[in-house]
Subunit: 357 residues, 2 copies
């Protein structure tokens, strides 16, 4: 059995108006019926002893996270005083785990990714834990199926071991989100995986890497962990946390560490960053429409994503649309413009419409 | 000064989901801010003495009509026991007017038509009343500007008189809604008007025509009128009304009477039968979008009609759509399919969704 941390941050601006500041992507029932956070927890649960999971989230979302995961104890849900990226969030969890089990295996799993095949996911985790146990910092990679420019890539190095029918490779290189031509070349080569930002390691190995590579993160986290259970614990947390620089685990640790491995595995993973991607993922056929969360009556409707709630949505003679119906805002957009939803959010911010953000 | 009747019937199925059984077209704020019924009354009011107007409507709508026209007395709003078309509704009003003023001039004005230029409308009415005073049954015609297939047409006959700068003509013939080719021929000829279903006549002339042409309507109405103020008035009304056949004034009287005249006049009239027609009427330019009743933020949005309420509507990269946002249903349709909104209503009926009709 392993320990787990679920960093639950980010807002998912491109999924506005379903996602809002007070209802970030990981709280949305996409694709439903449960929230992405709850689906993440249920996916991980068979690998984790009951109280060996932490969720690190913004203070504003603690109540919602508790509502989604009532089986977690209060001390398993950690409220960041301010967002600092995945590096400090995962690092803090590692320190807290080390207090109980310094040599434990640990995994980190983003709260807002989609996985179609949870058992396939767990197989990949079990394979990765084999390498983690041998001292590797392990990431899970998704063999790149098409030239997606919205994901980071990982170039596979030599094979290290085989477990659960999967081959774990050394990582040759992490690559930033590529342009289209580069992405096409990556896919053609067959040597690249998408970076799914799921990590596995021994806590001692990770904390050692953190100490060497990010001392400016390590030191304040060590101070916070040292007084965690003391009466001044919260005060200490609030005092040190803001001094920590913002950094991701990918940039801060994985791209700079030596013993890094990747498990390429296919389990229907997707980031679901925008409405078009969601529609693409959920439609069996490119012409199919997808309806989430509401009643729908469609006459002559093609390739349209409908995300709704209370109201019935009726569509007539339309195609390639995204219709997102919430209590206070309705969005109707062409699917090809899904990335520009961010622009709408920016526009509303300029207009002072905080109520809609 | 004249008397007036406003028959407020019909449901306006093609304006669903804004129009419903309990919120027919004449109660909608199209184009707003007031309801079509209230706009009709305010348009007619300068021509009518305070208590010389009747509204004939379905029993289910009496309360709503009172709310829209609080200045009318209770007895001016007549609840039909069952819908019977404009013939009986207008006929009943004529009988009730005749009890006070048997030789009065009277006009009938549909409650759900749009008029851009109310003063132009009143000029046409005043011209028509001149011919009505001479014993003609008069209708107001709108010179056909384009080959609309959704309206009935009137072929102009010889000129009868000039008043208010308008020429009143004898009617040569009423024509049913034509096919496209016929409509084009009508428009080319310059001899045709659209039938706006507005009527002007002397009450005695009209009742005489009703007695001769529709005795099966005249007789029960006469019976109802005879006991209108008696204690058994309501009972008599409820008893006789259902025996009256359903018929419109156009078919029952105007198309069959001898002395029929028409005032061709241009005052921005439209029937606003469907969403596309409404968009066409209200957009200055064919590419313009039209927003009614809600906040709208549009990015790269063309030729789209948005009819909303409480919610903000945001559109991105769309064109030629109709978006109708109500409390319990949302409609997104291509403008070219506006006529098929009726089909949706039929479909919902089949599905037993009375709650949405």
């Amino acid at each position: 059995m392993m320990w787990a941390v679920i960093p639950a941050g980010g807002s998912g601006t491109r999924l506005w108006p379903a996602s809002r500041r007070n209802r970030p992507k990981f709280l949305l029932p996409i694709p439903g019926p449960q929230s992405m956070l709850r689906a993440t927890w249920e996916r991980v649960r068979p690998l984790v002893a009951p109280h060996h999971c932490f969720v690190v989230t913004g203070a504003a979302h603690v109540a919602a996270v508790r509502g989604e995961l009532p089986e977690l104890a209060a001390e398993q849900i950690i409220a960041e005083p301010a967002p600092r990226g995945t590096g400090p969030a995962i690092g803090l969890a590692a320190f807290l785990i080390a207090r109980h089990a310094p040599g434990a295996l640990m995994g980190s799993f983003a709260a807002d990714h989609y996985v179609a095949d949870p058992e396939g996911f767990r197989r990949a985790v079990r394979a990765g834990l084999r390498a983690a146990n041998e001292g590797y910092l392990v990431t899970i990679g998704i063999p790149a199926r098409y030239p997606e420019t919205g994901y980071g890539y990982i170039r596979l190095g030599e094979p290290l071991l085989v477990a659960e029918g999967l081959t774990v490779h050394r990582v040759q290189q992490f690559k930033e989100k590529p342009d289209r031509a580069t992405a096409e070349q990556y896919v053609r080569s067959g040597e690249y995986c998408w970076n799914a930002s799921m990590f596995l390691w021994r806590v001692d190995v990770f904390l050692d890497a953190l100490r060497r590579l990010l001392p400016e993160v390590y030191a304040p986290l060590a101070a916070i962990a040292a007084c965690w259970d003391a009466p001044e614990g919260q005060h200490c947390f609030q005092e040190h946390w803001p001094t920590i620089p913002e950094i991701t685990i990918d940039h801060g640790i994985m791209e700079r560490a030596d013993q890094v491995a990747v498990v390429p595995a296919e389990f229907g993973w997707a980031d679901l960053g925008d409405w078009h991607g969601l529609a693409q993922l959920l439609a069996d056929d490119a012409d199919d429409s997808v309806v989430l969360g509401c009643e729908h009556l469609g006459l002559d409707t093609r390739a349209t994503l409908i995300y709704g709630g209370r109201r019935m949505v009726v569509t007539l003679g339309v195609e390639n649309l995204v219709v997102v119906d919430t209590d206070d805002v309705l969005l109707v957009a062409h699917r090809s413009r899904a990335q520009e939803v961010r622009e709408i959010v920016r526009r509303l911010e300029q207009l002072g419409r905080q109520d809609l953000l």
